[in-house]
Amino acid sequence: MTAKEVVNAVLLGAAWLVQVLCVLGVWRMPHLYDRLHFITPATSVAPWLVAAAVWVREAMDHQGIVALLVALFLLLFGPVLTHATARAARLREHGDWRPDRGEKVHRR
């Protein structure tokens, strides 16, 4: 194996490990609001590791540039989905995303 292949294997392995842990988190955490935290590493971390591996191989080629765009898109718009999902969950549960009277919110 060449040095590039070793680096790619490490990056791809790390990306896959992050995704496995995200799947485990969504499967095992007890509540919806806790599970939602495990979507973010799959959009903010894993795609960058895969894009980095593509870049090691392709550099400034078409594939390298588009891989970076995919990672950037997921980084910027993944949080929009997470935010929208959390808000929708609270609206369904409470009728309003704001805390109910008596609901515990730690304030600074």
Binding site: L12, F38, I39, V50, V54, R57, V80
Partner: protein
Amino acid sequence: MTEWFWAAAAMLALLLPCGLVAMRGSIMDRLLGLELASPITSASLLALAEAFNRSIYVDLALVYAVLSFVTTLVVVRLLERWV
């Protein structure tokens, strides 16, 4: 069989537990299965592009990421108020 092929296969295999998540629990819990499957699919398409040396798969990954975002957002908004 390069490291790309194995990575793509391993990532695609993770769609099975995502599908199982999408089949249990409340409707919002099921939505998480769908939300998690989207970035995993995009990443696996990037890996498949390198495995088979087809640059079209990379374009597919980008188009898929954009369309799945829009679709999931529409579903979330529907679940917010109407379903």
